[in-house]
Point group: C2
Chain length 401, copies 2
Amino acid sequence: MVVNELKFPRLDLENINAYARRMNDELKDGKIGYYHLPKFGEEIIPKIASLKGKFKKVVLIGVGGSSLGVKAIYEMLNLDCEMVFLDNLDPFSIEEKLANLVFDESLFILSSKSGTTIEPISIYKIILAKFNPKTYENFIVITDPQSKLEEYAKLHNITVFNIPKNVGGRFSVLSAIGLVPLGICGGDVSALLDGANACKKHFMDGKDDTILQKAYHYATHPNAKINVLFSYSDRLKSFNDWYVQLWAESLGKKRGYKRVGLTPVGLVGSKDQHSFLQLIMEGVKDKTVTFITLKNHAPSLKVPNLTLENLSGCDFVNELSLDAVFNAQANSTMQALLSENISIDTINLDSLDEWHIGWFIYYYELLTSATGIMLGINTYDQPGVEVGKRILKNLLSKNKN
Amino acid sequence: MVVNELKFPRLDLENINAYARRMNDELKDGKIGYYHLPKFGEEIIPKIASLKGKFKKVVLIGVGGSSLGVKAIYEMLNLDCEMVFLDNLDPFSIEEKLANLVFDESLFILSSKSGTTIEPISIYKIILAKFNPKTYENFIVITDPQSKLEEYAKLHNITVFNIPKNVGGRFSVLSAIGLVPLGICGGDVSALLDGANACKKHFMDGKDDTILQKAYHYATHPNAKINVLFSYSDRLKSFNDWYVQLWAESLGKKRGYKRVGLTPVGLVGSKDQHSFLQLIMEGVKDKTVTFITLKNHAPSLKVPNLTLENLSGCDFVNELSLDAVFNAQANSTMQALLSENISIDTINLDSLDEWHIGWFIYYYELLTSATGIMLGINTYDQPGVEVGKRILKNLLSKNKN
């Protein structure tokens, strides 16, 4: 079960219904592909079955939407299979990661939606030059249908998986982008899709308006400019990173001459109580906080019944399960923030298994769509990142002449 | 060399001088200890010499200010020695990390400024219960002088290092907190202190007012509410986390009835160009951006001179060193942001060695102090985090009765 509770007032507004209709229209008109992913994904499962357990390492070459969601789910599931993420052009880390690869033991997945993103293609070239492969049996390409990269891959008999063209990069983790690497690494991809489908049904049938209420609060409340995820689990760190991209790139947009946008921040509890909490408690009131908590972590671990000389003041947690202490930390932080009238809500996951993760991922995608509709922007493009790419191309092409 | 260039207008203001005098007063009155750390630290070096290389792993038990700075420097230096950070109460990760420890091969460092922080003390108890040590030879305690933890440690002949009482947790990485674990792990602690001292001399002698100019911009400019570090190196990820604590906890404060504060965000380039950049480019104009770049990463790595069929559009980076492409990405992103009139500045480090890191750490501490003075707040306390701690204690003590 995934339970989302809003600790701020719900609105009984006619326009919540109006927004619900607009979201349903968006779903029905078929132009935004991610709404329909949970039913498409099942085609992929039989195709990857033969690859499971065949390689020691899965090397994912991809940036942004091609890696963040995969890494998020990989870390939440804590899969045994080793996945290496070549997700940055940093020369130092590329050199370090490649030094530890054995070619024959590795499956290389090159993911690029457009097929021409400069980072993954350059990293792929470095890999070709380093290993000089004779065949491309341990390569997979994931890209848009008919992209230039797909044409290249077909020339070399590289297995290709497609992302539906109308699924944006940051909404693509439940397409081949995520299902292929995670499935090969042993993740239960069907359960992931089932969870996403359950979430879709739950919120899109009109009975639970929690997502719409939350989106409305974020889109309209003057104190909701920065939206903090306070995730109480180290395994949620990369989920935070995925959320940051989804939220920032979807909702930071020009609407005519006006700049709109909500700023995402990802924190990990309980440790960031010692970092960012002071700012939320006493700083400018411009933040909402969503607490993500898990029912179970490592249920057998307890604080031992030890009294250290001079330190009996720390004994109030003795004999408690660490799970109980950890979740009580989340609770008390929540209460502290409520005492300052900060807008908060809580999402509690029974478990970090595939079903719950599918639900959780889809929840955030729907929340992003709902918020975008209410802000009156195009949630699905990213015109602002193209400028820098053009400047880069000019800069480097000039240097070479 | 560390070069900081401001790309926004400097002010020729009498009150910059006034702030410089107030900062000098703060330095001279001796109440804020971190200003004086670079000269204190040298006492520690001979004491840790005998511990170098004696243990396979250094296990640091500490949260917030007791771990963030150490982790930041450890990752920037890329030290060979393995350091394990028990920096969160997450039961799952504690169980996982402890499962991989061999007691006799590990040096355990328990760091807690107050000596009574519930997380490290509880983790320490779990370690005692798990390994049941007969002697405490492979334990070190770092804490305030005369804390209850120091008294406990002395009873068991555990080696103790002190943090000067007037050095705040988040300003303490150049005290025993950082020097002991980093020195034992093979870091050149003297060079770290030399770099910090050089930075102190450079900015506190009144000749370079860059820090004051930047602080003034942040404290007064209406578009400077969120301060982004865009760090172009994977090795700077934990530095970002250290900065987030330093900035958020120092500058988020109530000033009488007014809430003030600046919100820190840490990004890693070039990958976060595919994540957060869109929001800075087109979202609400409330962000400043500092680009952190390194002169050298892995100088030998090049993009091979390969043309892939159908993908010649990606060839403009062929034959370039990856260093050049990576730094050009930083440059072009910077130019894109300048075209939108975003306030940016750049910090370029010649190298990620101890001297430059010492300089860099100290630079951010001074910047934080300067900004705090201009905001008119107490930079060095954190009253807002105490509320949650009290609630936790009540909650758990009640549950047990």
